[in-house]
């Protein structure tokens, strides 16, 4: 490990410890129903994770919503992004919709979709799909804009096979904007899933959070927040790993 990397990690660890310290101090000052202490939060966390039913009724439905919503967002965002990246007409046509989706508060979107689709998993997946799709869409548009025009012209001039164009010119240009966008999409998918679950009070982590809030079980609320963070990190790590491998393989071919 290089000195710089070690120093960076030490500073990150120091930042994390400061955060925990601030939390602990706040829990000493505030009432336990306002700020749960780290110890009681850990106890609640252990209680949750040692209960197999918790996974079946809370964690797995939420993971299902996040992943299904993310897939829908990727299909919509990448599909329209490919078209908009290549045809300025499509990009102009979709601009108003893109502005509506990126500027509308997600809570309003959830309420509208509850109104149109009712409660249930389909609504949650639709919320995530529709509101996260612009993340992929914008990244793809940006990626297409960054393709070297001269190299693109050269490959067209020499009639380079489309698969080779994709591997050697297009994918390397898209990757720098697409990979960070994918991470952002995962975080947004989780936030939106929880929000939709809370507002619809139907299932998953959101419903559990809503219940803990209603009964002022702050330690459980904090434990659920930690679970959400862990979930985001796991999905981000896994899908980032898969995306990186895919990009590297595509470039190598």
């Amino acid at each position: 490990m290089t000195n710089t990397l070690l120093r960076t990690r030490l500073w990150t660890a120091a930042g994390f410890l400061c955060l925990v310290l601030a939390w602990w101090l706040a829990s000493l000052i505030a009432h336990p129903t306002i700020v749960a202490s780290p110890v009681s939060t850990m106890q609640a966390l252990v209680t949750f994770l040692s209960d197999p039913a918790f996974f079946g009724t809370v964690i797995y439905p939420s993971i299902g919503h996040i992943l299904a919503g993310l897939c829908l967002a990727a299909v919509l965002g990448l599909g329209f992004g490919i078209l908009a990246g290549q045809y300025i007409v499509v990009r102009s046509f979709l601009a108003p919709l893109r502005i509506v989706l990126t500027s509308m508060p997600a809570a309003i979107g959830v309420v509208l979709l509850i109104l149109w689709m009712g409660l249930g998993s389909q609504m949650i997946i639709a919320v995530v799909g529709v509101f996260v799709a612009p993340v992929y869409y914008l990244a793809l548009c940006e990626g297409f804009d960054s393709i070297d025009r001269d190299l693109s012209e050269m490959t067209r001039f020499y009639r380079v096979h489309p698969a080779l164009r994709l591997r050697h010119l297009i994918l390397p240009s898209l990757a720098p904007s697409l990979l960070p966008a994918h991470r952002l999409a995962i975080a947004n998918s989780t936030r939106l899933t929880i929000l939709a679950e809370i507002l619809s009070a139907s299932s998953g982590l959101g419903e559990a959070i809503d219940r803990s809030r209603t009964y002022l079980q702050t330690d459980r609320l904090f434990a659920l927040m930690i679970i959400v963070l862990g979930l985001v990190l796991c999905i981000e790590g896994l899908s980032g790993f898969i995306a990186n491998r895919f990009m590297r393989r595509a470039e190598r071919r």
């Binding site: 190299l151 001039f157 020499y158 009639r159 050697h168 010119l169």
Partner: protein
């Protein structure tokens, strides 16, 4: 009958005076004119990269090779990989031709090096190798001798003229340095 290449009062988007040119198969032509006269714009129209905004152009050839002013190589690919992207690389004899070309141009030793790591002269030679390996009927050279030292220029000239004589292709070239032309080219002024 369609000539090999005929330009009648062609005007480019660069907005210069109408230009006319007639070429036969095996001609070697130099577009001559001061900087900013639109020589590169004319080469782009001849190669089919741009459309003329006025006039008429008739091409009697199908394949054109273009040695661009700036090499336009995929930087993360090696020299060999940059040349293997050509559709002509599917032909069984391509491998031998590629080997010969790399030797002739003096870039055989760097064939496994990423083009981002090459010198300007080496990159320019890969650019020329790609244009020639495309087996064009018409080879367009836009300042192709730039960045080449005398030794490299001589190697490139021998290679291009060998192909020119052997395959009866036409050459259209632009150079700002009179002694950096490939073969005895017929000068055509660009006003």
């Amino acid at each position: 009958m369609t000539r090999f290449l005929e330009l009648s009062d062609v005007q480019t988007a660069a907005g210069h005076a109408p230009f006319s040119l007639a070429m036969d198969c095996g001609d070697n032509v130099e577009l001559r004119g001061a900087s900013g006269r639109g020589k590169t714009s004319l080469l782009r129209v001849i190669a089919g990269l741009d459309r003329p905004v006025g006039g008429r152009i008739e091409r009697g050839y199908t394949l054109c090779g273009f040695a661009f002013q700036e090499p336009r190589l995929l930087p993360h690919l090696t020299v060999r990989e940059n040349l293997m992207i050509l559709p002509q690389s599917k032909a069984p004899e391509f491998s031998d031709k590629l080997h010969q070309m790399l030797c002739d141009l003096g870039i055989f030793e760097v064939q496994s090096r990423e083009t981002a790591l090459l010198s300007g002269g080496e990159r320019q030679r890969v650019n020329i190798a790609r244009a020639v390996l495309a087996e064009p009927d018409c080879l367009v050279l836009d300042e192709a001798a730039s960045n080449l030292d005398q030794d490299a220029f001589q190697k490139v000239a021998d290679c291009i003229l060998g192909q020119y004589r052997g395959r009866r292709m036409a050459i259209i070239q632009v150079s700002h340095v009179p002694d950096r032309l490939f073969g005895s080219a017929r000068p055509v002024p660009v006003a």
